[in-house]
């Protein structure tokens, strides 16, 4: 998929979310959904399978996100999946987040954690990262069990990693 098309999808999602006044929520929900699609091969294959009717794929999305995301997010995600752009979903959502953050003069900070963070923890984390990097950040938290424990934050090219997985990898390398 071309960068122009990805950008066009992102712009469309941004416009709709802004028009509905739910940009922050949609951005967060789509970001988490995109990371789930990115890391889950079976989910990616199922939603990206062109032989399955678009309505059925949209139904799968609705079932997966029922009660976990707003209706708008579910509908937007169903739109992308129904259009056969499941494999490009992570790039589209990344472009959306980048556009949204750029409009607010924020830089995206992707944080991965083995468990969900509370709102208070997210606020503290955003404040701590902003102080550490000297940038205004749009923090996106992704629950990723593969990190095992701790957090890893990626802000542009900068990575702050204090996860159990990395420590274990270091031990493994030494072994």
């Amino acid at each position: 998929m071309s960068a122009e098309r990805i950008d066009a999808y992102a712009a469309a999602l941004l416009e709709i979310a802004q028009a509905e006044g739910k940009l922050a929520a949609v951005e967060d929900e789509l970001f988490r959904a995109a990371r789930a699609v990115e890391t889950n091969e079976s989910l990616r294959s199922t939603l990206g399978d062109g032989t399955i009717p678009a309505a059925r794929r949209a139904q799968v999305v609705e079932q997966l996100l029922a009660g976990k995301a707003s209706d708008l997010s579910v509908q937007l995600l169903s739109l992308i999946v129904g259009a056969g752009r499941t494999r490009e979903l992570p790039q589209i959502v990344d472009a959306l987040v980048k556009r949204s953050s750029g409009a607010r003069q924020l830089e995206v900070a992707e944080v991965r954690s083995a468990v969900a963070l509370t709102d208070a923890q997210q606020a503290k984390l955003a404040d701590a990262l902003a102080r550490a990097t000297g940038k205004k950040l749009n923090v996106k938290v992704v629950v990723d069990p593969t990190v095992i424990g701790g957090l890893v934050a990626t802000i542009g090219d900068e990575v702050i990693d204090d996860t159990i997985r990395t420590r274990l990898d270091n031990v493994k390398s030494r072994l």
């Binding site: 984390l125 701590a128 204090d162």
Partner: protein
Amino acid sequence: MKLFSVVLAAEDPTQSHHWLFPEIGEIIYGGLASLAVLYALYKFGWPAAKKALISRTATIQKELDASSAARTHAEADAVKIRTALGDVAAERARLLAEADTQAEALLREGRARIAAEVADMEARAEAEIGAARARGSDELRAEISRRAARATADAVRAALDERTQQELIDGFIAKVGAGK
């Protein structure tokens, strides 16, 4: 028989003055005739005979010379043939010696090459055995480390309760906030 009787009758001694000598006139005429014949022979026959003799002598001499030349030529040819035979023998000997030398050199070279190839193959085989041993050892080590890491990860994951997870998160926030 009749002719014989006539001859005998002609030779009858009783018809001559002497039974042995002829008549004087006969001697004279006979002698003159003989001289005339001899002269004629000398005058006309001798030059031709002499010429024939000279010619014959020249022919014989020529044949002798030709024979001599042929002999000389034959002897020269014989010498050449003998020389050529000698050369052929020498050439044969030289070729045989050269062939022997070349065969020896080829044999020596072949032995050296085979020895080098065998040595190379042995070295390669040893290197491959060493590499396979190292590879096997590395693979075993890697597998052990993979399994150990997986087991460690599982053990750590099982040991991480909610409280510890929160502590890790808070610890990260505190460290980042402190600028570490």
